[in-house]
């Protein structure tokens, strides 16, 4: 087992897939000569040349459209948004074109495209650069939404996303790029829609994904010392969603808390809470709770940013209240 960073795992997944399939290309701002704004595409230009690792001008709507058009005729683009914040000017191409192309053409145009890049909040980047948008994209049928939390998952899930014939929203956590973890040396994939129990427990089910997994794990470690046993479900992908994994865990623990980096209103956690009360109501000893980012744009001030983001202490406090 090799120890890789999250960004190295992503890089390895892309390189291996591109070596295998000449129809795959990577496109985005600074992915080539600059070696990637977050260095995820480091070395790829040298390996694959300018025809397959393609720098674009700053024009997300335009190059997202290039990706979609090229996928209509059989290419398999990986479109990098430098950050998901910038994807909003391309959201028309993602939702009105990519997500619906196969449906509105009566199945004539599969859409083998991956939109990927840095998401999430933190680092005092302020209101326009600190946002978790997975709920926006998970809202739309036709898209798949993937949010890996570990290097191992990032590798296996990105490979599956690239091989998928549907438009995949692959949101990488900006603050996790440097995080390290074990990644098997042998090639593997992780099917989209398969969550994982990241920690076994008996008292409460904590449902989470992406960076929020780290808050969950930290809280679980704190609570373990108090004799509270937390089970952590990492969804890994929001669409498709591993619903049964959630229900099976809730049936065991009888309590559920969703921890997410996004805003609370109409956030994906609300959908999970709905599903649990709908499908596992009889097993619940407490209403499903959520820990989210605060319902405000992100402040630059360090103390306000800290207060705004979910964290392990808030998770632990919420769990203590739920167990009282």
């Amino acid at each position: 087992m090799a120890i890789l960073t999250y960004r190295e795992a992503l890089n390895r997944a892309m390189v291996e897939e591109m070596e295998k399939d000449p129809l795959i290309y990577l496109m985005g701002e600074e992915v080539g000569h600059y070696q990637g704004a977050y260095k995820v595409s480091q070395g790829m230009l040298d390996k694959f040349g300018e025809e397959r690792v393609i720098d674009t001008p700053i024009s997300e709507n335009g190059f997202a459209g290039i990706g979609v058009g090229s996928a209509m005729v059989g290419l398999r683009p990986i479109i990098e948004f430098m950050t998901w914040n910038f994807s909003l000017v391309a959201i028309d191409q993602i939702i009105n074109s990519a997500a619906k192309m196969n449906y509105m053409s009566g199945g004539q145009f599969p859409m083998p495209i991956v939109f990927r890049g840095a998401g999430g909040a933190g680092g005092r980047l302020g209101a326009q650069h600190s946002q978790a948008f997975e709920s926006w994209y998970a809202h739309c049928p036709g898209l798949k939404v993937v949010c890996p939390a570990t290097p191992k998952d990032a590798y296996g899930l990105l490979k599956s996303s690239i091989r998928d014939n549907n438009p995949t929203i692959f949101i990488e956590s900006e603050v996790l790029y440097g995080s390290k973890g074990e990644v098997p040396e042998q090639e593997y994939t992780i099917p989209l829609g398969l969550g994982e129990i990241k920690r076994k427990g008996t008292d409460i089910t904590l449902v989470t994904w992406s960076r929020a997994l780290s808050f969950a794990e930290e809280a679980a470690t704190i609570l373990e010392k108090e004799g509270i046993s937390v089970e952590i479900v990492d969804l890994r992908s929001l669409r498709p969603l591993d619903e049964n994994l959630i229900y099976e865990s809730v049936k065991k623990t009888n309590r559920a808390l969703v921890v997410e980096e996004g805003w609370p209103v109409a956030g994906f956690g609300a959908q999970i809470a709905y599903l649990i009360q709908k499908n596992a109501f009889a097993y619940l000893d407490h209403p499903v709770e959520r820990v989210t980012q605060m319902d405000v744009p992100m402040s630059y001030a360090a103390n306000l940013e800290r207060m705004s983001l979910p964290n392990a202490l808030r998770v632990a406090d919420t769990i203590r209240e739920m167990l009282q």
Binding site: G62, I66, S105, G106, G107
Partner: protein, 328 residues
């Protein structure tokens, strides 16, 4: 009317074919309008009547390996591509036998085999898609050319500028055809375009440009042909503005009160079908022969109408089908 008389039998038969296609479009849409008015067609129905020479002339310059990207006003482009009117009409009726199995409707005709890459409903959003299809041709080292239709209203949206810029810097084989019918829904061009001539925007991207009148079908073909060949030679995109006019409103629900009767009548005198018919007569085709042709096309449209009407709706099991593609 200045008429260019077809000079030899080849140009007569070519013009005859163009005339046939234009009449097919006209009659298809008249039938669609009728079906819409009695509630057999729902949603929006944007008719192409008056603009036929643009689609027919442009698409005549293509080969089957080339690609066409269209707008929500896509019936004419699809028929000019040679698609069978039956599945097109069935699509308008929302039937399972439709070209997009009833999932698309008027604005979303698609035919993968014919390289008809869709009618797209968001104004201008498809311009960068077209650049993407052309990008793929270049990537795969195929010499296919993509042509992309849009109206002058689309020329103000970001996707137009981004699509043209990307196509220009990468010398993509794409021809952008602005069908300027002078109204973006109800907004006349003088209220929307800072510079009225859309084609001069080509200068901003250092690409070739052209500007023509759209009532003479062979002229449209000749001009688009030049751009298509330029693209095929690897010399990059062209922006062509074709001045045209729609005789109907923006869609069937638009009474078009924002324009005068006089203006409409003046344009109707430049009807591309009338013009082609007149030129054919000058080339020696008799009125009887042309009338016979019209009648045959009318029969074809009646059959398409009948087919659409009697076709079954899509099965309810189709509702969830196609949201996601099958696995690789």
């Amino acid at each position: 009317m200045v008429s260019s008389v077809p000079k030899d039998s080849q140009s007569v038969s070519e013009l005859k074919e163009f005339y046939r296609q234009m009449v097919l479009i006209r009659k298809f849409e008249e039938a669609a309008a009728k079906a819409y008015s009695v509630g057999k067609i729902g949603g929006f129905l944007h008719l192409y009547i008056g603009q036929e020479a643009v689609g027919v002339g442009s698409i005549a310059s293509l080969t089957p390996k080339d690609y066409i990207v269209s707008t929500y006003r896509d019936h004419g482009h699809a028929l000019a591509r040679g698609l069978n009117p039956k599945p097109l009409m069935a699509e308008l009726f929302g039937k399972g036998t439709g070209i997009s199995k009833g999932n698309g409707g008027s604005m979303h005709f698609f035919d993968r085999n014919a390289h008809f890459m869709g009618g797209h409903g968001i104004v201008g959003g498809h311009i960068s898609l077209a650049a993407g299809i052309a990008f793929a041709s270049k990537f795969k080292k195929e010499d296919s050319v993509t042509i992309c239709f849009f109206g002058e209203g689309a020329a103000n949206i970001g996707s137009f500028h981004e699509g043209l810029n990307l196509a220009a810097i990468w010398k993509l084989p794409v021809v952008f055809i602005c069908e300027n019918n002078h109204y973006a829904m109800g907004t006349p061009e003088y209220r929307a375009l800072a510079v009225k001539d859309v084609s001069v925007r080509a200068y901003a991207y250092d690409i070739a440009r052209d500007h023509i009148e759209g009532d003479e079908v062979r002229k449209v073909r000749d001009h688009v042909q030049v751009a298509v060949e330029r693209a095929r030679r690897g010399e990059g995109p062209t922006l062509i503005e074709v001045s045209t006019y729609r005789f109907r409103g923006h869609s069937m629900s638009d009474p078009a009160k924002y324009r005068t009767k006089e203006e409409l009548e003046a344009y109707k005198k430049k009807d591309p079908l009338m013009r082609a018919r007149h030129e054919l007569e000058l080339g020696g085709i008799t009125t009887e022969e042309l009338d016979k042709m019209d009648l045959e096309i009318q029969t074809q449209i009646d059959e398409a109408y009948q087919y659409a009407e009697t076709s079954p709706e899509p099965p309810l099991s189709q509702l969830h089908k196609y949201v996601y593609a099958e696995d690789k």
